[in-house]
Structures are given as structure tokens and as C-alpha cells.
Point group: C2
Chain length 280, copies 2
């Protein structure tokens, strides 16, 4: 991957895109106009696509340029937030990013923790369906409330609850009139799984179901939040409830994470046995 996007050139590009005029954009950037022309041309070559359709009398964005202009806002937002948080860390401010699988709500543990540790800034990280554990591994989140199955290796996990799963089918489906199903009823049906069909959102998954592409087993809480008139949710009497876990990276025994685990353990008051060795 050529991740070497030059943020300075991106800033130049944004100026030209907003002014649609090289001379005035150069003025706001405090550089000379010829420099800007060359930088933009170099930027286009680096990206491999033209960004402006320009004559001597007009400067207009190409589709690629339009797209880049939109993306530039996301990039600058993330970068400025990152720099701000780095400086906060430099000043000693602590932060804890708690990831949540979709449909799970902020738990009791996080509220107790926030009350006990007001000096720690707490952020939530909404997880996507297909990236249950990745943000925990690469450092984007420190602790996570995940729904099984996910990849255990390298994580310490604590079970925190169970969710019953219900079958989601279109109203036109032959089984839709039943009051309850068994797993035997689902034999031969196409089950939409994270592995079989990578849907980017839950709504997209429901859309596939409504279109007759298959069925899905979804946690009850999710089914309740996203009710649609063209879908029905039916309990599956013999389905195993899916386990929800609190997970942290194995190597992370640092302050806030450690404290959070302590709070979680005392909050749960149930058989909260860590699945791995709990070192000091």
C-alpha cells in the first residue's frame, strides 16, 4: 500500500477545490501560484488520476476530485482529533476506548467505572459485524464487549451474559406463520452469516432477507430494535444462546484497563472466571 499521502498536498488541493481558482487559493495558502500549480499536478500523478478539469478560464472538480474533497474532511477530522488526544496523553490525561458489538448497549460496568474514575476520558467504539476483535488487537480500542464467535487467541475474555437468538425471515416465507421454530426447521435454508455474506450494515442484512436471499439468526435485542413490517422474528426453541464477553488484549495490564476489569468483575457478581491467566 502506498500510504504516503502527502497531507500538505491534500491541504493545497482542498484550497483549490474550494476557491476553484489557483491564484486566490495560493493567496490563502501564502504561497506563489506557480508552486500551487506544480503541487497539484504532482499530487495528481501520485494519486494516478486527474483531480481538476481546468482551462485558463475555469477550474472544475472531476468525479475523483469531488470524491477526494469529501474524503479530505474525514481525514482532517481524524488527524486533528488524533493530535489532540496525543497532547492530552502528554499532559497525563488518560483515556479508555470501549468497543461494543452492534446492538449491545453500554453496560453497567462502564457507568460504574466512569463514576469511580472521572479523570479517565471514556470513548465508545461501535464495532462492525465483521470486525469483532480487530480493533482490540490493533489498539483502536482497549476493552470490548463482544458477541461470540470471535477469535480468542491473544485476548483475555470474561463472559458477561447470554443473548437468545431468534430467526429472522421474510413474511412471505412458508415458515413465517409459525409461532416458534426448531433448528430442524432451518435445515436446508440459506443462513446469512458473517462468513457467508459480508453485509456492511445490519439493515443491509435485513434487506437481503426481505429480498428472499436467505434467513439469519440474530440476537433478540437486535431483532427488537430493528423491527420491519416485511420481516418476522421467530424464537428458535433449541438454539443455543450466544455468549457475550468482555475482552481485552493479553498484553494490556496497564492502569485504566486493569481498573476497568476490576470494576467489571465486581459489578458482575457472577461466575466471572477469566478464560486466561490473570497476571498482576
Amino acid at each position: 500500500m502506498d500510504l504516503d499521502l502527502d497531507l500538505r498536498k491534500l491541504r493545497y488541493f482542498v484550497a483549490v477545490a474550494e476557491h476553484r481558482h489557483f491564484g486566490r487559493a495560493a493567496q490563502t495558502l501564502f504561497i506563489a501560484q506557480p508552486v500551487l500549480s506544480r503541487q497539484i499536478r504532482a499530487f495528481e500523478q501520485e494519486l494516478g488520476c486527474r483531480l481538476f478539469e481546468r482551462t485558463t478560464r475555469s477550474v472544475e472538480l472531476t468525479p475523483a476530485g469531488q470524491r477526494l474533497y469529501e474524503e479530505a474532511r474525514s481525514i482532517t477530522t481524524v488527524v486533528t482529533a488524533a493530535l489532540r488526544r496525543v497532547h492530552e496523553a502528554e499532559r497525563g490525561e488518560q483515556r479508555l476506548v470501549v468497543a461494543f458489538s452492534p446492538g449491545l448497549h453500554v453496560s453497567e460496568a462502564i457507568r460504574v467505572y466512569a463514576a469511580e474514575h472521572p479523570e479517565v476520558e471514556i470513548d465508545v467504539f461501535p464495532l462492525r459485524w465483521w470486525e469483532q476483535d480487530a480493533p482490540l488487537r490493533d489498539g483502536r480500542a482497549h476493552v470490548g464487549f463482544l458477541r461470540r464467535p470471535f477469535e480468542d487467541s491473544g485476548l483475555r475474555t470474561v463472559p458477561v451474559g447470554h443473548e437468545t437468538k431468534v430467526a429472522c425471515l421474510p413474511v412471505s416465507h412458508p415458515l413465517a406463520g409459525r409461532h416458534a421454530l426448531t433448528s430442524a426447521d432451518l435445515d436446508g435454508e440459506e443462513i446469512l452469516d458473517v462468513r457467508t455474506r459480508r453485509t456492511s450494515s445490519l439493515d443491509e442484512k435485513f434487506e437481503l432477507i426481505a429480498a428472499g436471499q436467505g434467513l439469519a439468526l440474530v440476537p433478540l435485542s437486535v431483532a427488537g430494535s430493528y423491527s420491519r413490517s416485511d420481516l418476522v422474528h421467530l424464537p428458535v426453541t433449541d438454539a443455543l444462546p450466544v455468549e457475550t464477553c468482555l475482552a481485552v488484549p493479553e498484553n494490556a495490564c496497564a492502569g485504566p484497563v486493569r481498573d476497568f476489569l476490576d470494576v467489571a468483575a465486581s459489578t458482575l457478581r457472577r461466575d466471572a472466571r477469566p478464560s486466561g491467566p490473570v497476571g498482576a
Copy 2:
């Protein structure tokens, strides 16, 4: 703001952070070790804070370095996704980003649009409570389903529905035993508003309410999704329902946005009068 973060230096930093060893990190980067030492030092000066605590025998991350390492993942994720989408645009692929106020679900219009325009990639942009319209103005989203109130100027809006608001109060509140309230009952109560108290998440707002910091008026759909045992939701009989709108930037009459508005207009089949002039 000094947004001029050098992504090349960031890449160097990540390599050192992962290897905790300048020589080996330099090998993987295909540069000489002295270069890496100088780049890291320059990077620290640009950021204004030390990133590594290093002796001749060990290299460890400072708190600021640890934070930057976490943020680096977010930055690279956003940048690579942005570059990918720019190239998709270059190849002619179209994209439509639909923003949603929290609690609103993907509407009928988006499903119909996706079915009619399978060539357009559709993304959703979950809006925060305090940034109802900003992503629409700066290009991060193309159309948005917003909940009033928001800043109208510069946007074309189409009313798409109404939501009744319910009062959310802690169970310990004197009014909590009532079956319904009127707005007169709420006189003198502290109402938690986006303007009065900038809560970063809905859960945080509910947490404030549970802590006795005040009450809030929340849309019914939101109240249903986030039920808590320490809060009660009561209808307010004379409260005006809050209007939900479909909004697009005034200057955007381009292809996918235009098509989406057409689909929305035909889908709604109600008095979908645009609030502004609908140019060609």
C-alpha cells in the same frame, strides 16, 4: 491548526513502536538506522512531545507515544479507505452517503433507491447528537435524515415524518409515578438539551438523568431502544411532535442525490413539499 502531520514520519514511528528497536525497524523500512533516529527526533519536535523513552539498551513508548500508536491505526484506516474510494470514483463508480440522526433507522426510501440503482454504492453515516447538519455541509454525507431542530440555511429539506417525544426521568423522581405528563409539569425542571449540555452519547445523557442532573425529552423510538431499569419514560400529552426531515445541500443537484430525492418523493406519497426552490 498545524494539520501538517507527516504520514511518512508516522509510518516510521509505527515501525519503531512495533519493533522497539531502531536498527530492525530501519531494516523493515529499507532505510539506514541513523536516518530513522533523526526522523523520530524531528517528529517528536514537530509534535512537541517525546514519543520514546530510549537508552542505548532499550526503547519504550511514553504515554504520548502509546496514544499516538493507537491513533495511527485510525489514521491509516481512514486514509487507505479514502484513497480506495477516490480510485473507485476515478473508475466511474458512484457512491451515496446517507446520514442518519441517532435512533432513526434506514428508511424505505433508501431500500427502494438501492434496488433501483444497484450501481451506486451506499454508505450510512451515523450522526452524533451535536452534529446534526455539519456532515451535510462539509461533504462527508450527501443526504441526511435529520431530526429537528437543525440549521436550515444552505439545505433543501423535505419533511418525512413526525416522532412523538417522551419525557425521560429517573425512577426516584416525584413525577415518575404518573402515567402521563403535560408540559406544565416540566416547568422548573432542568431539561438536558444539546445546547445546555453537550453529551457525547445517548447513554451518557441517560447517565446524567439517572444521576439526577435533570430530565430530557427524547423521541419515542429512542426511548424504546434504550430502556433502563433506573429510568422511566412518560408521554407528554401536549408536547409537539418533532419533525424528521430529509435534507440535502442546496448546491447538490448531481446524479445520485437527485435520483435519491426522486425516489424519496415517490416513496413518501405524502405532501412532500420542498422547503426551498427545487431547481433543475
